[in-house]
């Protein structure tokens, strides 16, 4: 005979018939390299350092690459270094501003083989560097120290940028424990999107304007925003909508949906 309390609670939340988790995603979000954990092979000191770092690229495989400080310190642009997509033209500053008192720049440039690339850099700031993590660009993202980050037009199914006005959103995010430096999100949306709305699982959302891309041949607009500390971590982000002047969704990324060649149906995003 079923206990009536058990029956009542079974009715309240029925058992999950199937539960398919993703342990590797947890390790990735926690910045623990899946290949070394568990069991971990890196030193305790290295692991602790890795845990401080949170950088994620949704819909992409995330690989963080950091260059030796000495190799990039002399560059005006940290991303102009061996191993990263080579620019075919000089980088352009799309917009600049100040987050938490720190100057930042959103930069875009056309690259050889990877389409449009964009990046966030904090001019004048010498970031802390994690040595020995790797120096090659892979899977659409590179990071520099604890603050700077860049990405190119590479998303699942769209390894190389298609200059068409795709109804999709590509973005990158970088978090940091560097005192005073914010977590941020930057990305590209369809050219008709004047705003981007970023939503978290909690229901919170922020709306940011987009900026024209000063790079010929790429019909996209770019956005960049710091993420308020009160918002949930990046992995709890659920969607990014590109919104046109009439308030309609014209570009969509949804973390809970599998894209088709990198394109998410607009119906999965809200204005």
């Amino acid at each position: 005979v079923t206990d009536p309390i058990t029956a009542a609670l079974d009715a309240y939340v029925p058992a999950f018939e199937a539960a398919e988790g993703n342990w590797q995603a947890i390790l990735s979000a926690a910045s623990v390299p899946a290949s070394v954990s568990p069991p971990l092979r890196a030193s305790r000191r290295t692991r602790r350092h890795l845990l401080r770092r949170r950088n994620v690229l949704v819909a992409l495989v995330v690989v963080a690459i950091v260059a030796p400080l000495a190799a990039v310190a002399a560059n005006r642009w940290w991303f102009l270094r061996a191993g990263l997509p080579h620019p075919t033209k000089q980088p352009n500053v799309v917009t600049r501003g100040s987050w938490s008192g720190h100057q930042w720049e959103l930069v875009a440039y056309p690259s050889k083989g990877y389409g449009l690339c964009w990046g966030i850099t904090f001019p004048g700031h010498t970031p802390r560097i994690r040595p020995g993590i790797g120096q090659s660009y892979s899977s659409g993202m590179a990071v520099h120290g604890v603050d700077d980050g860049m990405g190119c037009g590479a998303i699942v199914g769209l390894r190389h940028w298609n200059p068409a006005d795709l109804p999709t959103v590509m973005f990158e995010s970088d978090g940091t424990n560097e005192p005073g430096y914010p977590t941020w999100i930057a990305g590209a949306v369809a050219a008709s999107a004047t705003h981007a709305v970023i939503r978290w699982r909690t229901g919170k959302a922020i709306r940011v304007r987009t900026f024209a891309t000063p790079v010929a041949g790429y019909r996209v607009r770019l956005f960049a925003t710091p993420v308020p500390q009160s918002l949930s971590p990046f992995f709890a982000l659920t969607s990014i909508s590109g919104i046109n002047q009439r308030g309609q969704v014209v570009a969509c990324f949804n973390a809970k949906v599998v894209s088709t060649n990198g394109v998410y149906p607009l119906s999965y995003c809200k204005p």
Partner: protein
């Protein structure tokens, strides 16, 4: 055991718990948060936190209890989160809103009349089949309090549902 090996072992245990208890973890998260759809994300978030903080686990109780405490806290916080704080002009259906919400029912109403501690003890006991010690660790109470709370919760729920409480 050297500290690094400690951590390796703890991570391995977290991974094992994740893989073997996922349906139960989701169920508890759904019950606490009020959202069946949000439960997988909440558990995922809880485990990320656990992995990041595993070195802070002091080994004074079962690791599983420490882990469940994180799951409970993440799910509780999700329920408390105000919706659309940054876009108040854009009301929408969210994971915490209507469509996927755990069915509002007499049971829900009856549970709402319990204290939070009573609900949490019930959920951990019935949905995850945790023993008193692990529940105690998860909720930072004593094992004796777990037993007393569970008895009181059963009685209160039975009364609210006008059930004839089975002898347990």
């Amino acid at each position: 055991m050297e500290g690094g090996e400690d951590r390796d072992a703890q991570l391995a245990q977290l991974a094992l718990t994740y893989r073997s208890r996922l349906p139960d973890l989701w169920r508890v998260a759904a019950a606490i948060s009020g959202s069946r759809e949000a439960a997988p994300d909440l558990v995922q978030e809880a485990f990320v936190r656990a992995v990041q903080r595993v070195e802070s686990f002091r080994g004074e109780g079962p690791l599983e209890g420490w882990l469940w405490r994180i799951v409970v806290n993440v799910a509780r916080n999700a329920r408390r989160e105000p919706l659309m704080a940054y876009l108040p002009e854009q009301p929408e259906v969210t994971p915490m809103a209507t469509a996927d919400r755990v069915v509002e029912s007499e049971v829900a109403a009856a549970l709402a009349r319990l204290s939070e501690r009573q609900r949490l003890v019930l959920f951990l006991r019935y949905y995850a089949d945790l023993d008193y010690r692990t529940i105690a660790e998860a909720l930072s109470i004593s094992s004796g309090t777990v037993g007393a709370t569970l008895t009181a919760a059963r009685a209160a729920l039975a009364q609210a549902l006008e059930l004839k409480e089975a002898t347990s």
